[in-house]
Symmetry: C2
Subunit: 609 residues, 2 copies
């Protein structure tokens, strides 16, 4: 599916006339009105979408060669090569459409953000194909940034309104070995929110209205406080996730506990007070982001696909300093629910918003005027393998389970091939076969999800006691592994009913059903009654699973429920409703809106209030 | 309170610099950008607010002379007299600010709407003070309209995008006796929505974008179909209510059953599928109006105060062809809940939106850039007496109960004074004393609200059987009344729990408590736990009433409830909540946000799902 979706992304980028903006030999695609009137005209963030599309292609090529797709990517890279200025500057919008705006507004104009996504694309393309051209182009741009930004004389002490460049520079530094890129990433992180605030200073310098650069707006892009002093997750959700991802990278690279401390507080703040059960984040459309604690409306949830993708990025980077299921469980939860829902099963259509309740009007679309989500979920899916494992000097941590083969190199140079045989997440039985050339000592750390009560583990048929051996939620098996050793892990996938904190008023009296990492939902197509007439009592214990016929081998949950019946057809009645027994079918949330369109509901009414 | 609030309205109008727009000798108050940038600058609908303010003053003067207030109103009327053009045209915005826009855009520019409110003000001021000046001014404007609009040669076959002129012309016709005004009102009603659509024709003629005049927009102002063919209440809620009010007036005046038939369908549509239990209507902010059937979100309810005021107007006019509690019950419900909530107890601050759930951030304001609601609720409260009774040839119908004395003249010339002694709606005992100079035969029809199960009635201590004697919900007592006859009506005010139709997903598993005509709510100030942790079981039968200390003689309901307790502080937990017994206090919805600010909730969770 990866190259299929990657090709679709490219097609859509072409249809949106993005390449005309990049192609220096094409007619200038025309003017643009800032902030309004963007529909159908050039957009200042298009380079980012091309960057993410090339990144998706790269991951696809890594898995399976596709000369046609590679040629198309090469052609786009050639356009960028021609476009790049002698000093390394590269941004199609500010070169082709609005040269006079170049470097005038770091807060709103997404210049560094675009560079970041282009760098990510370049790194992935180099890693997948071995071709250096795009990497060299973006290294020249990075050199340009190293020269421009910093605390030296004549340098700009600024940073981007939309974080992204930070984590991208870390990737570039890792692949090129250039410390200057890493240091620039750290500079952007360290400078953010320092006084005087750069965005206010910039607005004054540019003669812009400074009111719009004040407190609320500063929180919008997380520049209201130095990052180490931030304790509450605020503002635009995607920006926040990208910032924290960059911070986590820098914390890992520099062993910076001050950053880790801040990140742990922010992590608890997000996952303990502001996250949907799907791993969706950012409930409000108005700021594409966060509002108040425990404000999690279901029908109007924004919960942008990109934000859940960003949460996966952040969670993954929180594992950079060692395995901890506190992060990996949420990574899986966001991945399998809030993020993956953004992509249709056929890989052709996309959600931007991911509500937890729908009255039948919300559907995936083929494209969007702000097309950030399609390439974002596509690149995540295409690179899912890189989120599954963590490798240290003498340890392999398995964060995610799924049918796959991984060739890993440990920090001590040992090579390990790890093969997973499993139908997870549909089935909880996971077999791991160890491939080593000779007996090799290392620790295999297997995540035991917090929900997996009664999990069992065996090596070569010999049961291993969980519990004491478990460190931060990982069962650590340290031994000299023989070629062909087999580890069997069984994670019981028993449907469970979750309640939200009583402060979440929108979920009061309701339960969400999960099975393993998957959030389930009711769809109108399976349950042709009002979904809010269905009451979940104690039926979960008597539920049965079934393979959904038209959704591959996905597992549905059929469970006994009660249906509330009010005989009166009046708008308001003093009549007390009756209840009748009924069976309801639940399907995985991430698969909703893939069959007949209709209502959808995650938070079912619980029988007792 | 009336003259107090009336004076406040005038003060605010002056602060908003409305009078500068009217005063031909004042400097021109400046330019305006259409549709955007109206904040703080002249507005095309300001005459309507001055008209409604003078109308409020008139009702206040009718109840209690106030020379100072009368002098202020006279001064404003003098300004309008000086402003009026020789041909009768009068509109301060289109004379003083944008003369070139005069009569160019009936759809959006509120010209006839403003004339309507000025006419209502003029009629009320004449009736209260006997002074003809304002009535004559607006009669000249009405003559101008009679000349301009119609089906004759050179006349415009148009009508206003914001209905209001129709019902105003009916009032003007009734007080002046001029049939031309009544006929013009009927013309506006009859023309609305005819093909070709006037607003599309007008847009074409003015070279405006016709797309914006298409189907959705036509529904917005109820011009999508001829009014007699309309079966669904759509669009802007206030506009719809004013249209239906005008239609009901014309139905009464012309005995037009085709209009009545349409109105009955629309009435059922509104009250059976689209009305909040508070009588609030129009859930959406985006169109200030209606969305889908049974879509009644509580926390984001727009439910504009003006819309509930408009519903009172319409319901009242549906009584024009005879008493029927189908209309009067809703009139009372909208009046005592959705409408009155718009005004603070001290008469100084105002709600525009009336949500049924608040997390503590919604409060009444002192003024608004679109200040339609304050004078609207004020004029309704100041004229409440006129909604209480219906008078026919030989019948007096009592629609509303409340401490008062009314001097009525029947259609046959008989004079009746009706005195109500009651603490209704706090207490259900209502005593009516008949004042007649000599024994007089007429029917006294008393509304028995549908909710008043077990109501009892007595005349001079002699019990009267209800039931057979009741016609469309009114107990009709026809007899020769003697001076001093006493009627005793007892309406049991037993708290009752209402469920919404199962199609109202937002109210699923919840109940609203009413006592008599009043909707009750939980306020955080009385219930310092999360309001959504409270479960109403069977406690209503064991509830007790109490006088609320700081809300005059208003009655609270204290009732046994359960409080749901989840020990875990996690965001999501598999833990099943406990319940503990608790007492909750409910207060009347219309009085909320008059004490300490905090949460508010109308729809309580019901114990069984």
């Amino acid at each position: 599916m990866c190259d299929h979706t990657a090709a679709i992304l490219l097609d859509r980028c072409v249809e949106a006339r993005m390449l005309e903006q990049v192609d220096i030999d094409a007619p200038n695609p025309g003017v643009v009105i800032p902030f309004i009137g963007w529909l159908g005209s050039a957009q200042m963030f298009w380079d980012s979408d091309l960057g993410k599309s090339i990144e998706t292609i790269a991951y696809s090529l890594y898995r399976k060669p596709n000369p046609e797709l590679e040629a198309r990517a090469d052609a786009i890279i050639d356009l960028y090569e021609k476009l790049q200025e002698p000093d390394g500057y590269l941004n199609s919008f500010f070169q082709r459409i609005k040269p006079e705006w170049k470097w005038t507004n770091l807060r709103d104009f997404h210049e560094l953000y675009c560079a970041g996504h282009m760098i990510e694309g370049a790194v992935a393309y180099y890693q997948a194909t071995g071709k250096r051209k795009f990497l060299d182009i973006m290294s020249r741009m990075a050199d340009h940034l190293v020269a421009r930004f910093g605390r030296g004389p004549g340098q700009v002490r600024g940073y981007c309104g939309h974080e992204e460049i930070e984590l991208a520079l870390v990737k570039l530094a890792r692949v090129t070995g250039k410390q200057a890129y890493m240091d620039l990433a750290k500079f952007f992180i360290d400078e953010r929110g320092q006084k005087p605030n750069f965005f206010i200073e910039e607005a004054i310098a540019q003669g812009r209205d400074t009111k719009s650069a004040q407190k609320d707006t500063l929180g919008y892009n997380q520049s209201h406080l130095p990052v180490r002093e931030q304790t509450k997750v605020v503002g635009h959700a995607v920006r926040a996730m990208y910032l924290y991802s960059g911070m986590a990278d820098i914390a890992t690279e520099y062993n910076d506990d001050t950053l880790t401390d801040a990140l742990e507080i922010l992590w608890d703040d997000l996952t303990g007070k502001q996250m949907y059960v799907t791993g969706g984040i950012g409930p409000a459309a108005s700021n594409e982001g966060f509002t108040d604690y425990y404000d999690l409306p279901n029908d109007t949830a924004y919960a942008e696909t990109c934000a859940s993708v960003g949460l996966v990025f952040w969670a993954n980077r929180m594992l950079g300093r060692g395995p901890d299921r506190r992060y990996a469980d949420i990574m899986e939860q966001a991945l399998y629910n809030g993020a993956i829902a953004g992509l249709s099963r056929d890989g052709k259509t996309f959600f931007y918003e991911n509500p937890l309740e729908s009255t039948g009007k919300h559907h995936r679309w083929t494209w969007h005027t702000c097309p950030c989500c399609p390439p974002n979920i596509a690149r995540l899916v295409a690179s899912i393998g890189s989120y599954m494992y963590g490798v240290a000097k003498d340890e392999v941590a398995v964060h995610l389970y799924g049918e796959s083969t991984a060739r890993l190199e440990l920090g001590n140079g040992a090579k390990v091939t790890l093969t997973q045989q499993t139908h997870y997440p549909w089935d909880g039985a996971i077999g791991l076969t160890i491939g080593v050339e000779q007996p090799t000592r290392f620790a295999l750390s297997l995540r035991i999800p917090a929900w997996a009560k009664g999990a069992s583990l065996a090596v070569n048929g010999q049961s291993i006691e969980l519990g004491a051996a478990t460190d931060r939620g990982y069962a650590r098996i340290e031994r000299e592994w023989q070629p062909g050793d087999v580890v069997a892990l069984a994670l019981p996938l028993v449907p469970r009913a979750l309640r939200a904190n009583s402060k979440v008023r929108q979920d009061a009296g309701r339960v969400a059903v999960m099975r393993g990492p998957l959030v389930y939902c009711l769809e109108g197509t399976d349950n042709p009654v009002g979904l809010n007439s269905i009451l979940l009592g104690d039926g979960l214990g008597r539920s049965e699973t079934a393979v959904i016929p038209d959704l591959n081998r996905a597992i549905a949950i059929d469970l006994p429920v009660l249906k509330e019946v009010i005989a009166s057809d009046e708008l308001y009645t003093a009549e007390t409703p009756d209840v009748v027994a009924e069976t309801a079918r639940l399907v995985p949330y991430h698969l909703w809106d893939n069959r007949a369109p209709g209502d959808m509901l995650v938070w079912l009414r619980a029988q007792r209030g």
